[in-house]
Symmetry: C2
Subunit: 137 residues, 2 copies
DNA sequence: CATTAACTCTACTAATTATATAGAATTAAT
DNA sequence: ATTAATTCTATATAATTAGTAGAGTTAATG
């Protein structure tokens, strides 16, 4: 399941992607438009900024705006930024790999191979969903 | 990601599936064989029993054994028993459906449609992995 | 029928993570 | 100087996860 943070991030990106070109949206505007707690959204927008999905203008008349095309921001990207690995175990992860502490005695984790399959399929599906496709439906 | 509980459940089932026909495995035996904290495993085995994946024999010489074919126990089944929904949001779930509290104002949740696609693909993949296929690799 | 060794059940604890909230600092427009 | 926005760090609270404790129940065995 997605954390609220990831869900809110997606909704914030959807909001931004639906504004007209050049519009700078204030946090409070996004919060009210997408029904997200404002102070929580502040943190989320900062993380989206550090992740290079949005940028901001400071000071009065400041706010946030997309800096990537809505068709290139995938569900996989946002999941990884906020919820981390897409794989079901760290040992099956591409971007967040860690060996299992409880599998060292076996030659290899008995679950890993099957979970690699799942990861590949899920990742492919998640890379097929973008902010753009979410808006279209 | 899978919780430890789900991971341990899978490892316990793998252990049981690899015993010879008719063998009854004690909790301590499974715990040591699969490197799972024993008291935690007790709870997990009880849940697997309530889920009708295993059965038990009580008293001295008692223990646990599989009551479903290893090829019919899927990753999706075990995920649902311990970690719940496979979908990324409750509103996109088949078995754990709940409406989103923060989407009531919109005609429908803007994320739901895309997440239904993900759920379908992930579910199909997870139904393709069984205890049997995990043993084979 | 007492002993032993197993599962069963409920409650509890500890640690971690998720979900925020508070408030001061910084930035920039007017 | 004022106003209104982002930025940053710390804190608070709640929920979940992970694991432990211990008493109760069941059944084999001598």
């Amino acid at each position: 399941m997605l954390s609220h943070k990831t869900k809110y991030a997606l909704k914030a990106l959807l909001y931004l992607a639906q504004q007209e070109e050049g519009h700078i949206a204030r946090t409070i505007e996004i919060a009210e438009g997408a029904n997200i707690p404002k102070k929580f959204l502040e943190q989320i927008l900062l993380e989206l900024k550090r992740g290079h999905f949005v940028s901001s203008k400071q000071g009065k008349l400041g706010g946030y705006y997309l800096i990537k095309s809505k068709n290139t921001i995938t569900l996989a990207d946002i999941h990884r930024l906020f919820d981390g690995a897409i794989a079901l175990l760290p040992c099956a992860s591409l971007n967040f790999y860690e060996p299992c502490s409880d599998c060292t005695t076996e030659s290899e984790c008995s679950l890993r191979h099957g979970l690699l399959t799942i990861r590949d399929e899920t990742l492919k599906a998640m890379q097929g969903i973008t902010i753009g496709t979410l808006i279209k439906n």
